[in-house]
Amino acid sequence: MKKLLIVDDEPNIVMSLEYAFQKQGYNVFIARDGSEALVIMEREIPDLVVLDIMMPQVDGYETIEIIKKNPAFAKAKIIFLSAKSKAADIEKGLSLGADLYFTKPFSVKKLIAAVDNLIRI
């Protein structure tokens, strides 16, 4: 079973995504911000991380930088999912090594399709 880590401080979104991805057959892990996500990743290296940007403590940019530096996480794909929708924000997100950038509000179906496509079950 492919492992999916959802990192977002917005509990309602997390709850919806957790349900939707579990239903697709993913093993879903949840973190409320970057520092929690990194703690989880020490234990379970996910195949894909859905990452919000604006979060308390360690934000999405910092998190991806740490992930990209650690060769142990090399296989983990990363999708940014953020309300920051300016071209500059998207560019920055992708330049830091994200595979995809979704802006909020977003279509759950499209997100699932993108995840499926990236880590092909």
């Binding site: 401080d9 917005e10 309602n12 979104i13 709850m15 919806s16 995504l17 349900y19 939707a20 239903k23 940007i53 604006m54 979060m55 308390p56 403590q57 934000d59 940019y61 309300a83 920051k84 929708s85 300016k86 909020k104 509000p105 977003f106 279509s107 759950v108 179906k109």
Partner: protein, 895 residues
């Protein structure tokens, strides 16, 4: 009184002055030594023995004309301030050390002008110093009742002269940089000024109120004598003209006498001191002259007519048998002599060394030596000059045994010094005045003075029965030295002054118009004429072209300043202009800077020579000069207008720039605000959309989960609504468009309503709420808005206090017309670094863009706006340690 006793007193008095001088030198920075009073009083070096004794003499023989010498400076003072400000500014900038230096600077650091001015000054001042010695000698004789000594070895005056020379040498030549201030000397001069005035006033009061019954008594007695009228009034038109010329003469003297220039310019430490001097100095002169006429009249009444009226001041107390008073008068006179001789000798010695000896010949010798030797040599030149001057003056006095009165020798000195006036005054304001014109003017004036004053005088002294004066040379009546070209109604001094000025001015103006100065000279002229601030006196104002190597200029500097000072000065120079110290070729600014540095040590003219010996200067061609210098009045004014316009334009564009920056900043803030708003709106929207999408596509979702998802949607929608309300609120409040419903309310009621609103939540969290309030405080406010503030503060606290042990405390107090409420809790408090941001919209947005605020982040911003719209305040207590504490303040008086 026995001679030895007087000599002992003199030695004691001089030692005292020495001690004062040494003390002041050590304390040169203290407020006792460095203040405008000392400066103002030091100007009174103007009052020499001529004033102290001579005024009474002239009052006794010619009536009120003694006043001119003092009226001149008094009338001149408003102008004095304006001119002095400029002269001091320029002098400090260019380290000018004497009047000769100043005039030579104005005419392009012209060596020969400096020398001519020096010679003029020496010629004028040497007899003047002799006069001072004569006064000391004669008063000494009167006091000791002795017979004039015929041998130098037994003549006390000689020893007094030597003592004075030592005094000047000690205080005046400590450093080789003559433009440096000598605090000890100046302070001593100020002290002497006070002493001579006080002593003179004492003798005045003594004469008027002790010997007579007040001024009326003297007047009544003297008016009974014959010929009194002539003494107290102007008898005819001639004597009034005489008055005006005399006033003009002393007007010039106050600027041009070397000793006046020394104290007022060289020793000036701050242009602000000029202000105090502008009223202290005239007042001083006034006080000095208050009693003169009465002492003169008293002398006429009390003393036998064969006594010299110059010394009435001294004779009166002696004749009355008051020996000690006589001694006091003597010491006052000695004080005025000492300060005059000391300052004059110092000024002249500086001029002789910097403008005569060093530039002519000595400079070659200096070029080869090391800095210590050079400094020592310069000091030695000055010391020798001081001794030669004073001893020279002594011999002048002994050999000529001046027949003339104190007053007329003083006046002759004034006339000679006045020859510098056109070059000095016109040169300050007219940039066309040229070096050759200045020289010709001074020479012409001096020749006329020599012809109309010195020749007749020498003639009378040495040739008995000469007809030179009475009939003119070879019988030509038009050339009679006292009645040149038939002008026969003026006394000799006025006559000489008149004609010398006419020729001097004429030559100066004609030569200036006919012969333009060279480019260098005109640069300096431009500089002096247009100087109104240090800024405009920058080195880069110069036109200069040539080749020079930094290393060579440095070598020249090191010779006079030493390695350390040179290095320090160059360091400052390079930093100021941000130049590369590694550059081999020197630019114009460095050349001029070096000249200026050297000017203090060896004078302007010598500095120019020194530097030009290492610099290959190429004259700038005329077209080039034309480009840089303003050619005529129109271009000057057009240029000034242009300057003014470009200045205005620059100011305008600066203001536009500022406005633009402010707009950009406002825009940035607006953008940021909109960004944050968008983000805040999108987050719940995204949540609603995602949840609804899942709900729509999923039919077999458990009912419980479905319910939960639906609840989430409702919550997010609520959150959106609150957010939108807040944003609109904030917009309304901050733009002042909020319409408030202000009515009289009891503060306590509103507070209770607010607490009621959160009571349920507090109960659930186990939070304790304490209220201390002032009863019956009734204020006018919009209750909904104030309620919003209280609720916001309370719910913030509720959010951050710990469960079960949380406490919220509300206190209300009245201070005068101010109601102060504090809301404090024992929650986690506000981090110190966030204190300054909490009242901003989405407060974390500014310092840490990324972090998401807890809550909407707008409550405090809104609350503060509400309080401000109520003419109140909302602040946070930054000192509070155990949680958060907010202070709400409202005025009872009104909104």
């Amino acid at each position: 009184m026995p001679s030895y006793a007087i000599i002992l007193v003199i030695i004691g008095y001089l030692s005292l002055l020495f001690a004062v001088g040494i003390w002041a030198d050590r304390k040169s920075k203290s407020k006792w030594v460095h203040n405008p009073w000392v400066y103002a009083l030091s100007l009174a070096v103007y009052c020499s023995a001529w004033t102290y004794y001579g005024s009474v003499g002239i009052a006794a023989t010619s009536g009120v004309s003694f006043l001119t010498t003092y009226l001149g400076p008094v009338i001149a003072l408003p102008l004095w301030i304006i001119i002095m400000k400029r002269v001091v500014l320029i002098s400090k900038q260019y380290q000018v050390s004497s009047i000769a230096d100043f005039i030579s600077l104005r005419y392009g650091n012209n060596r020969s002008i400096g020398a001519i001015v020096t010679v003029i000054c020496v010629v004028a001042v040497l007899p003047y110093i002799a006069l001072q010695l004569k006064a000391v000698s004669e008063t000494f004789d009167i006091l000791s009742d002795g017979v004039k000594s015929t041998s130098i070895l037994t003549d006390s005056t000689f020893y007094i002269a030597v003592l004075l020379a030592v005094f000047v040498a000690l205080f005046g030549t400590q450093t080789s940089d003559a433009s440096r201030r000598r605090s000890g000397l100046v302070f001593t001069v100020a002290v002497e000024s006070v002493l001579k005035l006080v002593f003179f006033l004492i003798i005045g009061i003594y004469v008027i109120f002790y010997l007579f019954n007040g001024t009326t008594d003297i007047y009544n007695q003297i008016s009974a004598l014959d010929g009194f009228e002539e003494l107290a009034t102007f008898t005819n038109i001639e004597s009034s003209i005489n008055w005006y010329f005399m006033i003009a003469l002393s007007f010039f003297a106050i600027f041009l006498l070397p000793r006046q220039f020394q104290v007022s310019v060289v020793e000036n430490t701050s242009t602000s001191h000029l202000k105090k001097a502008s009223w202290v100095f005239p007042l001083y002169l006034l006080l000095f002259n208050v009693f003169v006429i009465f002492i003169a009249w008293a002398g006429k009444l009390l003393l036998s007519s064969d006594l010299n009226p110059d010394y009435y001041t001294l004779y009166i107390p002696l004749q009355q048998g008051h020996q000690l008073l006589g001694l006091m008068v003597f010491l006052g006179g000695l004080s005025s002599v000492i300060s005059m001789v000391v300052v004059s000798a110092l000024a002249l010695s500086t001029m002789i060394s910097n403008n005569l000896i060093i530039p002519y010949g000595f400079i070659k010798l200096l070029n080869k030596s090391n800095p210590e030797d050079n400094a020592q040599r310069i000091k030695n030149v000055r010391r020798v000059s001081i001794f030669i001057l004073i001893i020279g003056a002594y011999f002048f006095y002994v050999n000529f045994n001046i027949e003339l009165s104190l007053f007329s020798i003083g006046l002759i000195a004034f006339v000679i010094i006045a020859q510098l006036a056109p070059a000095f005054f016109i040169g300050l304001f007219w940039n066309r005045g040229s070096a050759i014109a200045a020289k010709m003017g001074i020479l012409a004036g001096s020749i006329v003075t020599f012809y109309t004053l010195a020749i007749p005088f020498l003639n009378e002294v040495f040739i008995d029965g000469s007809t030179f004066v009475s009939e003119g040379p070879a019988g030509i009546a038009l050339l009679k030295p006292y009645q040149l070209f038939g002008i026969d109604f003026m006394p000799p001094v006025t006559h000489a002054f008149f004609w010398s000025m006419v020729f001097n001015l004429m030559f100066y103006l004609i030569f200036s118009v006919v012969f333009k100065g060279n480019y260098r000279e005109r640069n300096y002229a431009e500089l002096v004429v247009n100087a109104s601030s240090y800024g405009e006196l920058e080195e880069n104002a110069f036109v200069w072209r040539g080749e020079a190597y930094v290393a060579e200029i440095k070598k020249a500097l090191v010779r006079f300043l030493g390695e350390k000072r040179t290095a320090r000065a160059l360091d400052i120079f390079y930093r100021k202009y941000e130049l590369n110290p590694q550059e081999e070729k020197a630019d114009a600014r460095l050349v001029n800077f070096s000249e200026k540095l050297l000017t203090g040590s060896i004078g302007a003219a010598s500095a120019k020579l020194m530097i030009s010996s290492v610099v290959k200067e190429q004259p700038v061609t005329l077209p080039e000069v034309l480009k840089i210098l303003e050619e005529n009045k129109e271009t000057i004014s057009a240029n000034k207008q242009l300057q003014q316009q470009s200045h205005d334009l620059k100011r305008l564009s600066d203001r536009l720039k500022d406005a633009n920056l402010a707009l950009v900043e406002k825009d940035r803030q607006k953008d940021e605000f909109l960004d944050t708003v968008a983000h805040e709106l999108k987050t719940p929207t995204a949540s609603i959309r995602a949840t609804s999408e899942i709900l729509a596509d999923d039919d077999d979702m458990p009912k419980e989960l479905k319910q939960k998802f639906l609840n989430n949607i409702v919550n997010d929608a609520d959150r959106l609504a609150v957010l939108i309300t807040n944003i609109l609120d904030l917009e309304k409040l901050s733009s002042g468009r909020d319409i408030m419903d202000k009515k009289q309310h009891l503060l306590k009621d509103t507070l209770v309503k607010a607490v009621d609103g959160i009571y349920q939540l507090a109960l659930q969290k186990g939070v304790h709420i304490e209220i201390e309030t002032v009863e019956n405080v009734s204020l006018i406010y919009d209750e909904d808005r104030i309620l919003q503030v209280f609720t916001n503060l309370l719910s913030n606290s509720l959010k951050f206090v710990p469960e079960n042990t949380g406490t919220i405390k509300i206190q209300t107090q009245q201070y005068g017309d101010e109601i102060v409420m504090s809301f404090e809790d024992n929650g986690k408090g506000i981090p110190q670094e966030d204190m300054q941001y909490i009242f901003e919209k989405f407060y974390q947005s500014n310092n840490q863009n990324i972090k998401k605020p807890i809550g909407s982040g707008m409550g405090l911003a809104i609350s503060r706006h509400i309080m401000e719209n109520h003419n109140g305040t909302l602040t946070v207590d930054e000192e509070f340690q155990n949680g958060a504490r907010f202070i709400v303040a409202l005025k009872t008086g009104g909104l």
